[in-house]
Each structure stands twice: as structure tokens, then as C-alpha cells.
């Protein structure tokens, strides 16, 4: 398997059958693929049995939680009695939190649309197919652009006093810059971070911000959307 003569190169005729191999073909040379035959198992019973087990375990967990946690129910809907604050379902509270800071067209329409579009186009626009770390090359230029973008973000959210966007952004920017300046043989975390590509940074930042917004919106917002401590 490890001998070179075993390699075959060329376009497959049946790309769908086992297309996980990626071949980089250049103008000058033909591609060489080192094929691997992975260990395979029969779906029946291996996959089916596992899925049944997983289904049972998940269902048991769900039922046990459902036995002790009651679905919330408040009073009969009354259009004349506005609760303060009126909150959306928790998964939209990040958005509602943004609405508190930004104009509604931006927070309620523009940003969600952009997020959805961004998610859809990810597979078509990921040019860094090799997953090259962010600070692997072009370091200085990239740092400039990176800091510029971070500064712009901080400025936009800063003037709206959106602390729960600003804080995770600062943390992520700091980590990224730390990875930039880190010695090549730093600790495990530093090594891990310096190995991350740009897409990792963007997605992680997005998750951190949306998580922070959602948590703050869910637990720290009281009457008039003011900050309160949970449990009061």
C-alpha cells in the first residue's frame, strides 16, 4: 500500500462512489493519488443496531428530563396585558438583544439575512481548501487587515454600547493576535490556536457572539430590557 507503484492517477469515472479523495492537479504534472481502502462494515446490523441504541438512549434521556421538567405555561393570552419584558423564544433572544442596540432594519433584517447567506455560501467560497493557518503566510499584511476589520467591528458595536458583542470580539481578537506573536513552541493552546485557519476564527467568533447575546438576552434582561441579575 505504501509503494509508489500502486498509485493511480487520473479522473475517476465514478466520482460519487468514493469521492473523498482530493486531488490537486496542476498544469504541469499529473495528479497522484494514494488510495486507501478504509475498513468497512455492513450497515446491517452495524449501523442499524447502533442507530437503534442511540435512539433508545436519547429517548430515555428525553423522557426522564420530561418527567421532571414541566413545559412552561403562563396565563391565558391577553393582548391588553403586556408583560415586561416581552421576550421572544430563547433562540431569537440574541436577535432581540441586537435589536436593543441597533436599528431594527439592521438588527432584525440585515444581519439575519447576511448570516443565512453567509452560511449558504460557505462551501462555495472557502478558498482556503488546505486549511492553511491564518498567520502562516503574508503575516504582516494579514495582521493589518485583521486589525482593521476588528477595529471597524468594535467601532460599530462600541458606539451602540453593545457590550455583549464587544467583549467576545475583543477576546477573540486578543487570542488571534496572541497566536500571531506567539513563539513557535508555545503551550498547547497557543500551538492549537496558531494552527487555526481564518474560517475557524470567523465561525468561532460568530458562535461566541451569538451565544453571549442569547445568554444575556435570556438571563440578564429584566423590565424595560434593563440588565438584571438572574433569579431576582
Amino acid at each position: 500500500m505504501s509503494e509508489k507503484s500502486n498509485y493511480e492517477a487520473g479522473f475517476g469515472s465514478d466520482a460519487v462512489k468514493d469521492p473523498q479523495r482530493i486531488v490537486f492537479i496542476t498544469k504541469k504534472t499529473s495528479a497522484q493519488v494514494k488510495g486507501v481502502k478504509p475498513r468497512q462494515l455492513m450497515s446491517y446490523p452495524h449501523l442499524v443496531l447502533r442507530e437503534v441504541i442511540v435512539f433508545e438512549i436519547f429517548t430515555v434521556a428525553l423522557v426522564i428530563v420530561a418527567l421532571f421538567w414541566d413545559a412552561p405555561l403562563k396565563q391565558l393570552a391577553d393582548p391588553l396585558l403586556t408583560p415586561n419584558p416581552a421576550k421572544a423564544p430563547w433562540y431569537f433572544l440574541g436577535l432581540q438583544e441586537l435589536l436593543h442596540y441597533l436599528p431594527p432594519v439592521v438588527a432584525g433584517v440585515l444581519i439575519p439575512t447576511l448570516v443565512i447567506v453567509a452560511l449558504v455560501v460557505i462551501p462555495y467560497f472557502d478558498v482556503n481548501i488546505k486549511g492553511e493557518p491564518l498567520w502562516a503566510s503574508n503575516r504582516q499584511r494579514r495582521l493589518m487587515v485583521f486589525l482593521g476589520v476588528v477595529a471597524a467591528l468594535l467601532f460599530v458595536f462600541g458606539i451602540h454600547e453593545a457590550f455583549d458583542v464587544v467583549i467576545p470580539t475583543i477576546i477573540f481578537a486578543s487570542l488571534s493576535v496572541a497566536a500571531y506573536f506567539a513563539p513557535p513552541r508555545g503551550g498547547r493552546l497557543i500551538r492549537y490556536l496558531s494552527g487555526r485557519p481564518l474560517s475557524w476564527w470567523v465561525m468561532s467568533w460568530f458562535i461566541a457572539v451569538s451565544l453571549t447575546l442569547t445568554l444575556v438576552g435570556t438571563f440578564l434582561r429584566g423590565p424595560g430590557w434593563s440588565l438584571v441579575w438572574p433569579g431576582r
Binding site: R39, Q40, L41, M42, Y44, P45, H46, L49, R50, V52, I53, E56, I57, T59, V60, V63, I64, L67, P72, L73, K74, Q75, L81, P83
Partner: protein, 702 residues
Amino acid sequence: MPAEQMGQVPKRLRVIYAVSTVIFVAVLAISPIRDHFAVWKRYQKRYVEFVGTRANSRALKADFQGGINQIWLPKLNVTDRCTTCHLGISEASLLDGSVPQPFRAHPPIPHHIEAWGCVVCHRGQGLATTVREAHETTLAWEKPLLPIRYIQASCGGCHQNSLQQTPRLDRGRELLVKYNCEGCHRIPGIVRPAMLGPDLSNIGAEVSRAWIYKWLKEGRTVLDSSGDVVVDGYEMHPRMPRFRFKKGEVRDLSAFLSSLNSPLAESSKIDPAVVAAWPNRAALLSYGQLRFRQMFCTDCHALAVVRLGQTELIGGDMGPELTKVGSKVNPDWLVSWLRNPQAYLPHALMPRYNWSDKDLYAVTQYMLNTFTDPKLLGDVPKLGPTTASEVKQGRKLFVAKGCRSCHVMQGIPPQKDFGPDLSKEGAKTVSELFFANAKIPHTLTAYLRAKITNPLSVDPKGRMPQYHFGSADLNAITTALLSLTGTPTNPGFALLTVPARRAKFDPAGEFGRIYHRFKCFDCHRIDGYGGTLAPDLSFEGSRAQRAWLVSFLHNPQTLRPTLTVRMPQFNFTDQQANAIANYVDMVLQNPSINRAAVNPESFAPEMASFGKELYFVKYECQSCHTIGAKGGYVGPSLTNVGNWMNAAWIEAWLKDPQALIPGTIEPHRDFTQPQIQALTAYLLTLKQKSSGGVAPLPGDAK
């Protein structure tokens, strides 16, 4: 991997599969098992066991129906499953206190449980089948069970009139009116009068700035129940509540109010000849005291009297207490006021008496010189001259503190609804209430009680003044507030609402003018409107003979010697007395009494002697009524009843007293018709010799 191994499943996976399947099935069985042991099923089991120990267990068991029981009344939006556990609720044999709850029967009430359900009155969540959720506040149900001490509130939701069964509610409603709650709050059923507190437009002419300062600063210690000055605060519950003024605010307000000082509309001049006519001061004051007593001023005004070291208030509470009025008011103002109270306060309750200058001078001098306390204003600091900025600031405060809610003030428009609307206060849910940091249960009843006891406890920035209620009154007011549930959302209830009778008796013409001038309605009730201090006059024309009325009006003598309250000497002119008598005679009639039907002339003398025997021997009427000096003091004196009452009235009265005056204590005896006639004949013979010297008036047919 060899092909033959591709399908082999390791044993470990098989074991996991077996275990997870068993757990899966077991966990799915938990919920049905839990349902099987629901709490209401336990109660039903216990009920069946309990019923077995009762004497009538067979009948009770026959009535028992297992499973979820519910009263379903779609028209009232009622689905009450209370009877799932309260199984004996309509079993008359389970009424006694030894029956354990939740099986005890409901005490008998006019409304049948099958027709009304439970939560209509008791609140709580009728849909629930667990103990906590049925009775308590939960996120899903914010109208918990009404504590039983407030249960009359539920009667008040529909019955806006007073009921025999709801004394607490009625008391609460009275208190709401008495303490002028409608000054700041909208309360359905209470009409906001034009004036609640006194009109302050010219208050500077009545009292000094120092007095106003004292009043505002220590309202409670200088107030009596009707909102006027007493020095030591004999009454616990002043009508003007205690506001939380700061020192500077009292200073500014007193400056503003004392600056309102314009000339009095009614003259305060006394004819100098009248003044000069008095030989000495002692004679003047003693005559003043005599007239003060004869006018029965204490019917409405109280005086503090020290007896055996104890201070007591003697007198009525309709008008202000007068113990220290001499140190309060401006002498000129007092004269002007007594001449024509309505000239100073258009809405004053005080009647406009027909004073002679002599009486007026003597009475005012008596009051100003006797009812005094030189130390009254002793602790008021030196206020100095009133400055323009104080006045300006005081005027602002007058508006900001809501004074204009109760006090009329010329140039400042009155304010309605300074406080929250209370129309639906009793239907509020917990999430609509703010408890601040009050350590009380988060329920509407606890909130209302806390708010009335100490408004700041649930709202540190609140504007509501401080009241001082006893526990019974707190319960009553809370009950009355809880009864304010707003217009029922369900049309079924809206139709059931019983409105209170609130027609205002307001006669026109000559009698109307007299009625308003002398404020008859302060004390007398006519057609359901007016005070209760004096007899209800709705059917006075059927009862009293016209000639007697005229003579009574000229010289009112008490018919009930034990009562200290008597009708004052109004000094009616003949014309006024006749106008009143005419109106009473013609209009205030009971349609069921035909005066012409009973002719006193037809009574034979032996009937009267039979009646006398009945009176003294058989029925012993003398135990309650006096004739001359003999007899009991429970009922009115009958000494002059032959001149006083109409024969037809006496007959009707003897037949059924409660039909004429509901609730009267006169016993309802089953007299036969001959007995009634005999008694009437006897009573009509009881005539006093004319003492007032009032001749029968022209035009008097009798």
C-alpha cells in the same frame, strides 16, 4: 477487512442493545404508572373509606361517582373539577365540623353549586386536579383561592346593592366613601361629589397661616373624623389622611393657602344696637350657651368633654368638632359662615338657619370665647412674613401633591384620577402588581392589605397618604376592593349584575329650595337618598297628620326621649313650614295606604276601650312605648299619637310594620282585623293638649 467479518457484531454491542432496550421500555412505563397514582385518586379512595364510617353510608356511596368530576357551565365559562376531591360538597349530612376536609359539605347559601360552580366565588383554578395548582398562584394561574375572610368580595362582584349576608363588604364600601377614596381613584359605584374636602379658595379668610401649618404638619393630632380641627386628636381616623410632607413643603403650602384671602361674601357685621344691648359679658355668654344647646348643634358637631379625667367626644360627626374652634377661626368669618354657609362653601352640608342677630351674636361670642385653647398653636415655629416664592412653590405643591383631587380651588382646575383606576383592582393578576421588597406573600389579597396598611411598603415612591385602620376595617376595605372586578368579561355575568339604587332625590319648586337650604338630606332619607341620622321620610305624608307636621316643624320635640340627637330649631317661617307640610302631605305617600279609607269618626267608643285593654293587658305595648310619663323607652312616645298619625297608617302599621319600614324592630304580630281597628281607635284618643300654641293653619282641612 475480510468480508466474512464485516457483518459480525461484537458481543459488547449486543449487551448494550439489550440493556438500553430494557431501560427504554421501563422509562416509558413511568408516566402511566404515575398517572395511575394521581393525587385525586387517593382522595377518592379515602372518601369511599370515610363514607363507609357514616350512618348513611349507603346513600352517600350511591351519590359517589368516581373519576374526574366536573361542573361544566359553558355560559359562565366554568369548568370546575373541584368536586373531584371535594366529594361531599353538596351532601347535607356531611356539613358538621368533624368531617375532614376536603370532604365537608358547603354551608347553605342562596346559590346552588350546580348552577354556579366553585371558582365564580372562591377563585382558584377550577380546571386543576392537583392540590397546589387548584388553590395557589402559579405561573399559569394568577388568581388563587380567595381567603375566606374576603369571600364577601365575590358577592359584591354582582350585587352592587348591600345585602344582609355581606356586612363586611358593606362596611368596606362605606369606608371607601368615608375616606374619600374616590378623590384620587376611580371606583365604580361611588359617584365623585363636586367637593370632598373643603373648598380652599378663600381659606386665608377663615384660618391663619400658623393654624394651616399645624394642620398640615400634624394632621392626625389636630383632626377629627370629619376632617376638622381637634387639638389632641380624640378621633383615631381623621377624614383627611396624613400626607408625608417635608418641613419646607408645609411652610410653602401654608404660605400659599394663607395668601388666599379675599373679602367674605356674606356680611360679618352685627347690628351695633344688638351688641350694645347686652348688660354684661356673662349674660351674653350664658345666653349664647343656651341657644347653642337649643339649636342642637351637637347633633352634627362634637365637643370634647372631660369627665373623671377621661376625654370623650359628645356629639355627632357630620360636621367638624368644635372643641377648640375659637382658637382656629377668624371671628368675622364665623359670623359670616353661620349666616350663610353656602356663601363661603357652595357645597357645605351645614343648613342655612334663620338667625336673628341677637342669637347669632350670642352664639358666636359663646363659641369664640369658650371653645379655645391658647396652647393650640404654641409649637408652630415663627413663620415670618409670607414671601412670593413660598406662595409660588406652595401653589406648585398643591398641584403636585394632588390636593386638588379633594379640595376645590378657584383658578386651579380640579383633578380626577390622581391615583390609579380601581375599577378592576380586584381582578388584577400577580404579574400586574409591584411588591417592591415587601416581605409578603405574592398574592393580590396580601398586596391590597399591605398597600392600605402602609402604602410605602409596596411602593417606596408612592403618593398615597397614610391611613390607620384596625384589623376589622382592613378586612372590610380589602373585601370591598376585591369586589371591584370590573365589567365581567363573560356576557353571562354581565346580565346578572344587580345594580345599586342610586337615584338622587332632588325635589323641585318651593320645597326643593327649602330642602337644599336646610339640607334635609343630611339627616333624613327620602326615596333611598339621604342620611340615616333621622327618620326616613319617604312615606311621612301617609304617616303624619298635616297639622302635627306644621307644629313639629315650628317646635321640634323629640318623640324618643332617650335619644340625644334631636332635630335642631331651624326657626322656619310659617310660609316655609307650610310649604314643607304641603309637599310631605301630597307627595311623600305610600301607595298602599289610602288615608280616606279609614274614617276615625266611625270608631265607636267601646272599640277604643277594647283597644285600651289590648294595649295594656294582652299585648303590653307599654313595655316599649310611653304614654305620658309611663312606659318603656324602646319605641317612640305615643302620648300625642292621636294628633300625630293618620288612622290608615296606624292600621297598616299594625298589620305589618316591616312592610312599611323594612327592618324596623316593631314586632310583627298577627292581629285580627277587629283587634287592629280597636287598637287604632284607642291610639287615636291619645291627644296632648296643644302646647306649642300653634293655631291650625288656614287651608287645613282637618
